[in-house]
């Protein structure tokens, strides 16, 4: 009855260019910050997103928490909401659920999303809210000038841990998997083509999409990802996930990642592709909802195994908003659309004359 007038989307959306997504606000990140590339790729991919989904620019909203990364919405020429530390998923939930016509993005950092805000992240993923979450992981607190974050490696010395941290780092993707996220992916800020591809896939996904973007903070944690993200080593040290393909990586695909079972449980190992019979290759499967392999791929030891990049999981499950609309429709079918005065009288009443 009180449906939103915005609920119907434009028939034909105008053709946008990258420039249409650049806001007038001057960008204020440190020179050299990895955030620039993420911003650029987002601005570049947006025209495609809008065209594909027939989405006008005004129906796009970026919602962030607090942190360097969370300044992102100011630079996108869309609707934007720079909220408070850790709470962006909650605000995005309220918006996305009440306005199914919008495309809602959440921008968060490793501190914003995994320290103060991890609980909201978890719950919004398990609700499968139709939002696209991009977590900028620089493994440090940038905006507050260099304390360790939940993703900082154990033993890291920072302003707040002069003798080294003592906690096991959080694994963002594994956490998202456990929280039943329907779309889970990882990208590297400097790996622009793939980053754009992944952003596009997130945009297409209906339901909660979670993307970790590894982003260098050149001021407080420079080189955090160099060991595998540097051009020179990337091919050897990363594993590009492709749906339906085996877990092959390295120069000319010469290496393969395999699982080994046995009395000590299950473990991963790397073997030469040439020595592995084709039928022994495990295939990556994004779409199997109970795919343990995809979950385990989020947990590979960065030091000894390749770092998977790409889409780990992309499954189809009705999102919260859709289920809610179903309930509304069902309730209307059952009770008729709500009529206020009828409802006010719908109780044991009596008259006084």
């Amino acid at each position: 009855m009180l449906m939103n007038e915005q609920a119907t989307r434009n028939e034909h959306v105008q053709q946008y260019t990258r420039k249409d997504f650049i806001s007038p606000e001057a960008v204020r990140w440190c020179p050299g910050c990895g955030d620039y590339s993420i911003l650029a790729q987002m601005q570049r991919v947006m025209p495609t997103v809008c065209a594909e989904l027939n989405l006008p620019r005004e129906n796009i909203v970026f919602i962030s928490g607090i942190g360097c990364s969370s300044r992102f919405p100011y630079y996108m020429n869309t609707y934007g909401f720079h909220t408070i530390h850790g709470r962006a998923p909650t605000i995005a939930t309220g918006l996305a659920v009440s306005r199914p016509d919008l495309q809602v993005w959440v921008i968060t950092g490793d501190g914003d999303g995994l320290s103060i805000g991890a609980n909201h992240l978890l719950h919004c993923l398990r609700r499968n809210i139709d939002i696209k979450i991009i977590l900028f992981n620089n493994r440090i607190y940038g905006l507050t000038k260099g304390q360790y974050s939940p993703t900082s490696e154990k033993g890291k010395k920072t302003k707040s841990s002069p003798m080294g941290t003592m906690e096991a780092p959080v694994n963002p993707l594994y956490t998202a998997m456990v929280a039943e996220a329907t779309f889970v992916a990882r990208a590297i800020a400097t790996d622009s083509d793939r980053l754009r591809e992944i952003l596009l896939r997130a945009a297409r996904h209906r339901g909660a999409a979670f993307v970790e973007v590894l982003q260098n903070c050149n001021v407080f944690n420079d080189g955090a990802f160099d060991s595998f993200a540097e051009k020179a080593v990337m091919e050897e040290r990363t594993l590009i996930l492709k749906d339906g393909n085996p877990l092959i990586f390295g120069k000319n695909g010469d290496k393969v990642l395999k699982m080994r079972g046995g009395s000590h449980g299950l473990e991963f190992e790397v073997a030469p592709t040439a020595e592995t019979p084709a039928d022994k290759l495990v295939l990556h499967n994004e779409k199997s909802p109970r795919n343990y392999l995809a979950r385990l791929l989020t947990t590979l030891d960065e030091a000894t195994l390749p770092v998977p990049i790409g889409v780990f999981q992309a499954i189809d499950r009705p999102h919260y908003g859709a289920q809610l609309q179903d309930q509304i429709a069902m309730a209307r079918k059952r009770n008729g659309p709500g009529k206020l005065f009828e409802h006010l009288h719908n109780a044991d009443t009596w008259s006084v004359t």
């Binding site: 009855m1 009180l2 449906m3 939103n4 915005q6 806001s23 606000e25 006008p56 620019r57 005004e58 129906n59 796009i60 909203v61 919405p73 100011y74 869309t78 609707y79 934007g80 909401f81 720079h82 909220t83 408070i84 709470r87 998923p89 909650t90 605000i91 995005a92 939930t93 309220g94 918006l95 659920v97 009440s98 306005r99 919008l102 609980n119 909201h120 978890l122 719950h123 809610l324 309930q327 509304i328 069902m330 309730a331 209307r332 059952r334 009770n335 008729g336 659309p337 709500g338 206020l340 005065f341 409802h343 006010l344 009288h345 109780a347 044991d348 009443t349 009596w350 008259s351 006084v352």
Partner: protein
Amino acid sequence: MSNHVEIKNAVIRFAGDSGDGIQITGSMFTHESAILGHDISTMPDFPAEIRAPAGTLAGVSSFQLNFSSYEIDTPGDQPAVLVALNPAALRANIMDLAPGGAIILNSDAFTKSEWQKAGYASDPLADHSLSGFKIYPIPVSSLTLAAVENTGISRKQAVQCKNMFTLGVITWLYDRSIEPIKRYIDKRYSAIRPEMAEANKLALQAGYNYADTVELFTGKYQITAAKLPPGVYRRVTGNEATALGMLTASELCGRPLFYASYPITPASDILHELSKLRHFGVITMQAEDEIAAMGMAIGAAYGGSLGLTGTSGPGMALKSEAIGLAVMTELPVVIINVQRGGPSTGLPTKTEQADLLQAMFGRNGESPVAIVAPATPADCFHMAIEAFRIAVRYMIPVVYLSDGYLANGSEPWRIPGPEELPSMRVKFHRDRDMPLPYVRDPQTLSRPWIVPGTPGLEHRIGGLEKQDGTGDVSYNSRNHEIMVGYRAEKVRRIAEVIPPLTVSGPETGDLLILGWGSTYGAIRHAAENARNQGLSVASAHLKYLNPWPANTGEVLGRYKHVLLPELNSGQLRMLLRAEYLVDIIGMNKIMGKPFLMTEIEEKIQTILGGVRPLKTAAVTC
């Protein structure tokens, strides 16, 4: 035995173990009283535990009803009749019973082990501790068991029918027919649990018959119907009326209602009520915590819905940071706080008014919000609408302060017609030629409500200080001062659209009793009684707490004394003293319980018996 006594009102309290169905019994009798045209007011009281050990003081649940032939606003100070299903119920409630009052008790439950469990040192029926009261011992348990013998229900279920037996007794006592109750039982339970419905009716009848036969009572009481304004009535609790009011606000605004909440006593029922309204397009979400609920409400308001969240004190504390965001982004969110006893977890099922200053000041920085507070359960409907009327007109978060006493208490509510409701249709800003999200309406100072999806008005907002007009981030000193000023002034201007403070009683005089929230009934009637005794006492009630009605200072100035009873240590009093430099007299009760009329009447006597005169300094500042 056909001795009929005509009385004006009756206050009766049902008490028993949590598992005894006391709340249901009370509700049924209340319902019937309302239908018979009495004015009613109720007060349930139950333990914080789901079910404390049977027979202990901790497990006692009670329900008090005042029904009357004239207009009332309180459940009554002292019950004249106490129904006690076990010794613990007796012990926990006896101190409230009026002197000479009647105790109807289940004598089967007064075994030694039971009265010991209740903490009695000797049998209260045998020692002379109850000599000031009229005692009516009835073997309720055994009579009930006998009555339902042939229904085929289990012994445990049979025992559960004893509340209906007592209801039968009471129904007889007030000279009513039991038929409406039987119909009620049929309507509610026949379909789902037919054998229990049958047993309940048998127990009811047995109780009625017993009273009619046994000549226990010396007479019946008759109470005529009250002269309420004409109209169609229903009974509502405060929580129900709040939910209905919020729904109505949404319909009046033409915007969907979005309610996010995390369960907490005594606010949870609002969530339960609103989640039944999917056919209205009402969205309810059970959030993971109160912070999330607040965030969701903000997100919904940003998107153009009526963003609503509800909680009680501890949850309110958690929401405070996010409320600040709503203040900064100037979004119309309503936050319900059904206050309970504090601090900390406090007394979850008891009532208190101690969250006013939290609502005013519980955020970092200069962070003003509007505050409203309903006065009675039925008034919740009206004030809920008011909360949203203010929120959308001024683009501001509004705190709606209910309390446990209002939330669970009930009274008859005259259902208004469409013509009685305010018009509050909202319009979003769509003008592409004025794309500035922080340009203010010159009258209200509110910023435009621009919702995502509006072409050409793409903009960014957030929790950092905003540039006047553009809404861009600004660290400029002068701008900060201006914006702080706007946010404060916006609240002040709300006074332009709220009704002035009115008084009951003389326009000037010796004493004004001022109140807010659920103290309304006790204050009003205490003042009325004082006037009936020839004293110059008026009463007035603040339903708008930030800002106050524009004439508040002026009203206070018209009386020699101002008395302000509050269920806290003087929170509103502090604010009024600071503003008007008036030496308001405080009256404070922090016992998890509402004021009794008599307490206020005594205070009136003390004051007008000749204490310090009102000292007034500057009335403005």
